[in-house]
Amino acid sequence: MNGVVLPVVLPLLAAFLMQPLAHKSGVTARLLGPLVLAIGLAMLVQTWHLAQTDPFTVTFGGFAPPLGIVFYVDRLALIFAIAAQLFTLLLWGWSMDAQFDGEKKAREDALMLLLAASATGLALSGDLFNVYVFYELMAVSSFGLVVLKDTGPAQIATLRYLLISAFGSVIALLGIAFLYAQTGTLNLAQLGELAPKALHGPAGLAAFAFMLIGFGVKAELFPVNTWVPEVYAVAPARIAGLLAGLISKLAALVVLRLLVVVYQDTPAPQLLLVLGTLTVLVGDFSAWRSKDFPRMISYSSIAQLGLVFIGFSIPGPLGVLAGLSVALHHLLIKSGMFMLATRWSGSLDRLAGCAKSAPVATGLYLLFALSLVGVPPMPGFWAKLLIMTGLAQEGSVVYLVALGVVLLGSIVKVHYLFRFALKLYGRADLPPVRHSLMELGPAALIGIAIIAATIFTVPIGERLRAVAEQAADRDAYISTVFPDHKTAAVSEDRR
């Protein structure tokens, strides 16, 4: 059981020890972060077997669930917890450049550890208020990381990001207050139990809308995603990759949990579908218009998040599977793309002719672009196919419109991604841009992972299907948290 709690607690502890440790010995402080994350990763991977058959819960302080706080551990939560530790480690700021400043590095490392801890906690939380607290912790540490560069534009972008985020938090808190007013609990399982009677009316749906907008800020959902291109353009590329890849997915996970456990069989998925469709449209067309590499891939990440939400809005295990596979695919691809953007941070024209000077980076870009567009054997194709079959199966007008938008978005995506690829193979006007090994390494690892996923599509697909079926099972969620209520919850449901 400790294997689940320690990966949250240890990084928090290490983050607070970081500053005094850096005073004593800079090298130890630098090694502490990766060490803690590696330990957490190993623990979570070991826990995988425990959750293989049945999900389980971890309670804190010896209080039983409705009063006490729980971690709910199923394979879906574990995947994202593992991803949180793994990608923080992968995108860790290793660089030991000439003007090495131990104290400043220690500050950055502490923020990274806080981010990893809060992301892991968010994935595992089975309690809405805990979700809120971890979400806020994640937000605050991401503000610190974005403003790391400390240039004028970075400050403005962070300020806007912070204000939009804080607005979102207040809205989410209001939604949580609404839920509490109607049910008197914030435990997700108990909410799920009470939902059919208490929350499927207009007031309950209003609470969902509030929480969707609130948590949608980090998940780059349509009306509240104006901060995305600005922040990703000015933040260090690693951090942008972490925000676009990891953090947005965790916010989407919160929405998925709410949808599956509390708002099954309500109009809530339709709302998500509409917003997701708009997000795809806005993201793809803005990416098509953008003239520089960082902003092109940040708009494209908005479009991908829209796809994730469209996937989640399809009812049943198929929807969870579709959304989950797009989310994991995008988590890989965007982290890699932003690693390439560390050097390719200028306008698209400035990068013309890079294919000759940087063949590896160009090859990786092509690989990522092909998978992102969804060319058949690549994992991106299967993810998109799942979404399309799901939408087609639903068959009502809204879902078919969404299907059309997904296709339209793909066409636009092909155009802007390969327009840039052609430019890379064009004539070089400027001195070449070379990536360092530290920047290319993580991107290459991700490239290898994509190729591996292409080869082993069938076993990975089967595993993900099992994960999705486990995650989409509302009764199992409730009966895992409250073993005694099992019969009551199930019989009430069948009626």
Binding site: F129, V170, Y180, S345
Partner: protein, 157 residues
């Protein structure tokens, strides 16, 4: 006649605070005022959350002040709000510290002006044509406070 007890008045107050905060967010053109509007909005949300578990005729939770035999006020919303207030204060302090830095770098907190300067700075950094003309706000503001010697980025031919 509507019976107005003080709990109703508190509810009206909380919703009023929310409305004022939301209006401020939309109307204001200065980052500091937007931050203040956000503080008001948050106060409204917190007050609403406390009111969810409040009963006029009940005892204080845990310590039990109040009339004998009365029920207890629900303590959970109060603990939640305590956490929310702490988080809010931390975020606001961070916001103010970044505000100070923005003001030191740009000498203004006006949203439209900062947005124009931001677009310009980013465009120069990326090496693309900075947005001009139609998208910039009307009036001489940009010219007076923008970078003194504006040059289009060198053409690379």
């Amino acid at each position: 006649m509507i019976h107005l007890d003080y709990v109703t008045i508190l509810y009206v107050g909380a919703i009023g605070l929310l409305a004022i905060g939301a209006a401020g967010l939309v109307i204001c053109n200065n980052f500091f005022r937007i931050l203040l509007a956000l503080v008001v909005l948050e106060a409204g949300a917190n007050l609403l959350l406390v009111l969810m578990g409040y009963r006029g005729d009940a005892k204080a939770p845990i310590l039990g002040f109040g009339p004998d035999g009365a029920q207890m006020v629900d303590p959970i919303p109060q603990t939640l709000v305590l956490t929310a207030i702490v988080i809010g204060v931390a975020v606001q302090a961070l916001a103010v510290s970044i505000l100070v830095r923005v003001f030191r770098s740009y000498g203004t907190l006006d949203i439209r002006e900062l947005k124009a300067r931001f677009e310009h700075d980013i465009a120069v950094e990326m090496g693309i044509e900075p947005p001009r003309g139609g998208e910039a706000p009307a009036g001489g503001r940009i010219q007076s406070s923008g970078p003194p010697n504006f040059r289009p980025p060198e053409s690379h031919s």
